[in-house]
């Protein structure tokens, strides 16, 4: 039985890498990938805690189910995100977010 802590460390590392990546990448695609890392870190946390609180008689699969949902939603979000990126690319011939300020007021 693997204890909880390593999972949490890996998860925290994933979050840190994701946030760092999201903040530093210039490419919109890189940012999307980093966000995927953050989501997966959260999913890993869910699975880990789910296993941690499991008792012998009542097995809980709630964490796994949440993780599956999170992955599905992440996939959907990625699809939407990629479509937006493609749209932006078509319009401005770039995916460099420093060059794009469409959301400015």
């Amino acid at each position: 039985m693997i204890p909880l802590a390593p999972f949490l460390v890996v998860s925290a590392a994933l979050v840190a890498i994701g946030v760092f990546g999201a903040l530093t990448r210039r490419s919109a695609l890189g940012i999307l990938m980093s966000i995927e890392l953050i989501i997966n870190a959260a999913a890993l946390n869910l699975v880990a805690f789910s296993q941690h609180i499991r008792t012998s008689d009542a097995e809980s699969t709630a964490g796994q189910m949440f993780a599956l949902f999170a992955m599905a939603i992440a996939a959907a979000a990625a699809a939407v995100g990629l479509s937006i990126v493609i749209c932006i690319y078509r319009n401005s011939k770039t995916v460099n977010v420093d060059k794009i300020d469409l959301m400015r007021w």
């Binding site: 999201a22 903040l23 300020d101 007021w105």
Partner: protein, 650 residues
């Protein structure tokens, strides 16, 4: 076919509508529309007349106009012998006048408008004649009043014509108010305004012997007669008629012969049942008529304007008719109305021809010697003058003689007055004739000429009428006209023929003509100026029309004007002052409120706006539109929440 008589007034009304809306397009042909309409009316009237004459029935046709509760108001036409004769006279004389006007008004800029108003006038008069109730009669009566205003003031750019129009309108309006109140009283007392119902209702009410009802009905009769006084220009509301000469001459002929003034007499004849039941009213009618006849004849003696003499002679002749009605000689009065319509229309149109040919000069003192220059006009004029003077066998003699006969039997005083008036009539009419047509022209600068054929033709037709129309009403033909009127039993005054009355009437007429010859013939035996000096004050009184106009001016017109001026000042000073003061106050208050609004209310709003603007400038700084900035902020936010959670748990 029963509604056929209703078409008679509708045709001229249609002509009016067509001309008034298409006047510019029609131009000269407007007169064809008008003459066509009245000619058709005349044919219809002739048909109606022959039918009424043959069958002695009363044509009636009516429809329900309004109904409230049990009471229904019906409108319609009712034509008895009297109405049929009137219809015939009005349409024939009216058509002749319109034909004459084609020549008289030629070249006038407002040619088509003239025919429009004349058509409306005809429609009013015909509507009045065919009306089967007092209400419709009143409506037509008012249409005529309006048209008289338009037509008398036809040359409205002349101040005197405009004033004459207003004078006619207001003076007759005084009478109209009387008529209206009389109608209300009658409706109140008898409950109907329909003539056939009144014929039954009034004797029944009079039979009750109720003093109150009798008083009401007598008052109604007298008030209706006030309407007649106004419309038929009896004393004391006669002042408008001489001034009505300001209108074009065909209008004078129309007003004085066929329509306006006849309407008043016709009104009394129509509502005669009221008068017949109440002798007090009848007496008033007789005396007003007799007085007017004499009074107007006295004024006519000294006038120098050719149309004015004729105007006063009209007043005088109307006085005869009214007197006849008042004396119960109903048929004689109406007979005189018909004959008078013919010879007076002829006189006016003859005078019009003289004026037309004499370059619009109306003063008889400048005329003279026109016999040779205007033979047609002179001959027809002579026929009319003889007719009005009462020379047999011309029409005027028979009708006037009938009236005098009635007066002889009923009231000797009025008979004397009437006979004297007959003398005066013959005198002043031949004074006019001699001054205009005989001798030499006194003003040699004017070159008189005969009128065109379109004006002569109506004169000749009317002259034939004026000469022969009396025969059917003469004793030779057994008073055929008078009997054809279907005179109701209550108005039938059978007077025995009197040679004294007839002989005296001829004698005074001849005497009048003789005196006129002595004074105004080419070589007068008696100098008119000396007679005038001898008469002294009487002469000036007559010349100034007994100062009636001046008396009215002093007693009524000037006080009314002063009152109006006073009211105007009051209005200008006090009422307008109050209103303006109120306005000023409101403005001052409003400007105060404006300041408050500008600085306080607007200040708060602007302040809010300024604050929001400043805040938005601050917050706008973080909205860079760069994904990285947002991500950083989101991450920092998450970090802060995490720290807080951790701190809370710890």
């Amino acid at each position: 076919m029963d509604f056929l008589p209703a078409l008679i007034p509708v045709l001229p009304l249609l002509a009016f509508a067509v001309i008034i809306t298409n006047g510019r397009r029609l131009g000269w042909s407007a007169c064809l529309v008008a003459v066509g309409a009245s000619l058709t009316s005349a044919v219809l009237a002739a048909l109606v007349y022959s039918r009424v004459l043959l069958s002695h029935e009363t044509l009636a046709w009516s429809f329900e106009w309004v109904r409230w509760g049990e009471t229904a108001l019906r409108m319609g036409v009712r034509i008895d012998g009297l109405g049929a004769l009137m219809l015939f006279m009005v349409t024939v004389v009216g058509t002749l006048i319109e034909i004459y006007a084609i020549g008289y008004m030629a070249g006038d800029k407002t040619f088509s408008r003239f025919f429009a108003f004349v058509s409306l006038f005809m429609a009013g008069m015909l509507g009045l004649v065919v009306a089967d109730n007092l209400l419709l009669l009143f409506v037509s009566w008012e249409i005529m009043g309006l048209c008289s205003y338009f037509l008398i003031g036809f040359y409205f750019h002349r101040p005197s014509a405009a004033a004459a129009g207003i004078k006619a309108f207001i003076t007759t309006r005084i009478g109209d108010v009387g008529l209206l109140i009389g109608m209300i009283l009658l409706w109140w007392t008898a409950g109907t305004l329909r003539f056939d119902e009144l014929l039954l209702a009034v004797p029944a009410l009079a039979g009750l012997g109720d003093a109150h009802v009798d008083l009401m009905l007598t008052a109604a009769a007298l008030l209706i007669f006030v309407g007649t006084i106004g419309k038929s220009a009896q004393f004391p509301l006669h002042v408008w008629l001489p001034d009505a000469m300001e209108g074009p001459t065909p209008v004078s002929a129309l007003i004085h012969a066929a329509t306006m003034v006849a309407a008043g007499v016709f009104l009394v004849a129509r509502s005669f049942i009221l008068f017949a039941q109440f002798p007090a009213a009848l007496t008033v009618v007789a005396w007003v008529g007799g007085f007017t006849a004499l009074f107007a004849a006295l004024i006519a003696l000294t006038q120098n304007d050719i149309k004015r003499v004729l105007a006063y002679s009209t007043l005088s002749q109307l006085g005869y008719m009214v007197m006849a009605l008042g004396l119960g000689a109903y048929a004689a009065g109406m007979f005189h109305l018909i004959t008078h319509a013919f010879f007076k229309a002829l006189l006016f149109m003859g005078a019009g021809a003289v004026i037309h040919g004499f370059h619009h000069v109306q003063d008889m003192r400048r005329m003279g010697g026109l016999w040779g220059k205007m033979p047609w006009t002179a001959w027809t004029f002579l026929v009319a003058t003889l007719a009005i003077s009462g020379i047999p066998p011309l029409s005027g003699f028979w009708s006037k003689d009938e009236i005098l006969l009635g007066a002889f039997h009923e009231s000797p005083v009025l008979w004397v007055a009437g006979t004297f008036t007959a003398f005066l009539t013959a005198f002043y009419m031949f004074r006019l004739f001699f001054m205009t047509f005989t001798g030499r022209q006194r003003d040699g600068e004017i070159h008189a000429h005969e009128s065109p054929a379109v004006m002569i033709l109506p004169l000749v037709v009317l002259a034939v009428g004026a000469a022969l129309l009396g025969i059917p009403g003469s004793p030779w033909m057994g008073l055929w006209v008078q009997h054809s009127l279907d005179v109701p039993a209550y108005a039938l005054a059978h007077h025995h023929h009197s040679n004294l009355v007839m002989g005296l009437s001829i004698a005074v007429a001849v005497a009048g003509i003789a005196l006129a010859w002595l004074m105004y013939a080419p070589r007068p035996t008696i100098q008119p100026a000396r007679v005038a000096r001898a008469m002294g004050r009487l002469y000036t009184l007559s010349l100034n029309k007994f100062h009636i106009d001046e008396i009215y001016a002093a007693l009524i017109i000037n006080p009314t004007r002063a009152l109006a001026r006073g009211s105007f000042r009051f209005d200008l000073g006090l009422i307008d002052g109050a209103v303006n003061g109120m306005g000023w106050l409101q403005r001052a208050l409003a400007s105060l409120k404006g300041l408050f609004d500008k600085w306080v209310v607007d200040g708060i709003v602007n302040l809010l706006a300024t604050i929001v603007q400043a805040l938005s400038a601050v917050f706008g700084l973080i909205q860079t539109g760069r994904v990285h900035n947002y991500l950083l902020l989101a991450s920092l936010g998450a970090l802060v929440i995490a720290c807080l959670t951790w701190w809370n748990m710890g």
